[in-house]
């Protein structure tokens, strides 16, 4: 049950950043990120898999959202998503042996009603951060004990960096390739890893992701009483104050209000 592993402290990581990056290239390690994104919605290096002359989708200025409604998409050649993009695909989405890169300015939200597959070196968002790619299955409702009619299949070196939410479909990796991996988060009706599957890396940044699957409901409630006006750890970080009474007096200063 116990696992011990050497974790290099962050400070050391920052100190040896350049060296590590170089070493990573030399040793052919897989570097998931080459640049910390400026915001939660975007950010990859664009390096290593630039797409070259690949067709570009989206508005790189971010001023407009590119919207596509396709009956199916059998990807032919590599693509680059350079702006915010939403796609509704009623049927199958076959990435094949192609690569769909999401640039630092891009994001892709997919609604897929059929099967999704990638094989060979087929990959989607393989150099970005998972929050840039959200895939939602729109398959018919199934009971947990039902067999899924649809699947997402990564074969060979097929790679995915993103969020998969397909509660009525199967998620399957067939492994076989050294470069195959899944990074992000996956929720599916059934999940199957076969052969020699690549690693799975959960992105902790997704804990605050808004998937648009419902509205806000009350999750926590605390009445500050008996002179206690201290902020929670989260509240203190958000509002920049450890004491709400002080903050309220600063924002709405009139009198020395008693927090009773």
């Amino acid at each position: 049950m116990k696992i011990s592993r050497n974790i290099i402290p962050l400070k050391i990581v920052h100190l040896v950043l350049v060296g590590v990056a170089s070493a990573a290239l030399l040793l052919n390690l897989q570097v998931l990120e080459a640049k910390k994104p400026d915001n939660p919605g975007g950010g990859n290096s664009g390096g290593g898999n630039s797409g070259g002359g690949s067709p570009k989708i989206g508005d790189s200025t971010g001023n407009t959202v590119a919207k596509y409604h396709l009956s199916s998409w059998n990807v032919s050649g590599d693509y680059e998503i350079v702006g915010p993009t939403i796609m509704v695909i009623d049927g199958d989405f076959n990435i094949g042996n192609n690569t769909i890169t999401i640039a630092a300015t891009g994001s892709l939200e997919l609604f897929v009603g059929g099967n999704i597959s990638a094989n060979g070196k087929g990959a989607i968002n393989n150099t970005g951060v998972p929050s840039q790619l959200i895939v939602k299955g729109t398959h018919p409702e199934k009971q947990p004990s039902d067999s899924p009619d649809y699947s997402w299949t990564l074969s060979g070196n097929g790679a995915l960096t993103g969020v998969v939410y397909a509660p009525n479909a199967e998620y399957r990796t067939n492994g076989g390739g050294n470069a195959g991996f899944t990074s992000g988060s996956v929720v599916a009706l059934d999940i199957r890893f076969n052969g020699s599957p690549g690693p799975f890396h959960f992105d902790e940044a997704l804990e605050d992701l808004d998937l648009g699957l419902g509205s806000y409901t009350l999750a926590a409630y605390e009445l500050k009483a008996n002179g206690n006006s201290s902020a929670s750890v989260e509240g203190g970080a958000i509002f920049g104050s450890t004491d709400y009474k002080v903050l309220f007096n600063q924002l709405f200063s009139k009198k020395n209000t008693l927090a009773q």
Binding site: D208, A219, Y244
Partner: protein, 276 residues
């Protein structure tokens, strides 16, 4: 025939009654004097409790106003400002104040508190760009009959609202989870640079892997996987080890529950029907 000796006897009785009354009155006065501080204290406490309850009600009103604004304006900063909200100094939140006096004038009806008290309430709202937001509200009541107008009583409420976020765990199956081969599961934080596979740099042990099914025997097959994080199962703890041949670093989460909300497809009217 009236005997003259009746008069002095009557006066003596009357004096006795007067004396008894005086003593009785004294006892009552002393009693009242004795309990007066307690009555005053009770009155003050009642008055204070009333103020606190009013402040609490106002704070709850502020929470209601804030969550309404979150649902209505979302991340539309222009709409927030137009509605009277101001941006916090660090850019992370909105804040706003309401007074009952202004609300009364606006609504054309008297919304003021009883006994000459004045009320106002405040809210600070985390900007709605994630599945979790924090809202802090304050209700303030001041003045009132026989109360110094400078005296204020406040109540503060800290709340958190969240949206369903199935992506917050890792790898979760509604039903069967079947892991053949030797897959490895770990975590990282894409906000931290850099993450390098297999080298431990910035890698974590918070990948939750599991199934929400309550029948772990037929749905959970972990093979020889390695999980840097907890194993989750919807099944109750029956004393058996569900890990099988897997190595799990984060313990077992029994009775794991998770919502699987349906996906709503957007209206695609006018959308492009072919890619470049």
């Amino acid at each position: 025939m009236i005997h003259s000796n009746i008069g002095p006897k009557t006066r003596g009785t009357a004096g006795s009654v007067l004396l008894t009354s005086a003593i009785f009155s004294m006892v009552i006065l002393l009693g009242i004097a004795g309990i007066m501080p307690m009555l005053v204290s009770d009155w003050k406490q009642t008055s204070r409790t009333s103020l606190q309850e009013a402040a609490f009600t106002l704070a709850e009103s502020a929470v209601d106003e804030a969550i309404w604004a979150v649902l209505e304006f979302e991340d539309d900063e222009i709409a927030w400002r137009a509605a009277g909200w101001s941006e916090g100094s660090n850019g992370n939140y909105w804040y706003r104040e309401w007074t009952l006096t202004a609300l009364s004038q606006s609504a054309g009806i008297n919304l003021e508190l009883d006994e000459g008290r004045t009320g106002r309430y405040h809210a600070i709202v985390e900007k709605a760009d994630s599945s979790r937001i924090t809202i802090v509200a304050q209700g303030v009541v001041s003045g009132g009959r026989n109360v110094n107008s400078e005296t204020e009583i406040a109540r503060i409420i800290e709340t958190e609202f969240s949206k369903p976020n199935p992506a917050a765990y890792g790898l979760i199956a509604r039903d069967s989870l079947n892991l053949n081969g030797k897959p490895t599961f770990d975590s990282y934080d894409s906000r931290n640079f850099p993450y390098i596979y297999s080298s431990g740099v910035n890698s974590g042990s918070n990948a939750t892997v599991g199934s929400a099914s309550k029948n772990k025997n037929s749905t959970l097959d972990l093979g020889n996987s390695t999980i840097f994080g907890p194993l989750a199962t919807g099944a109750p703890n029956d004393g058996t080890d569900p890990t099988g041949g897997a190595t799990v670093s984060g313990g077992i989460i029994w009775d794991f529950e998770m919502d699987f909300p349906p996906v709503t497809v957007p209206d695609t009217s006018g959308w492009t029907n072919s890619v470049p």
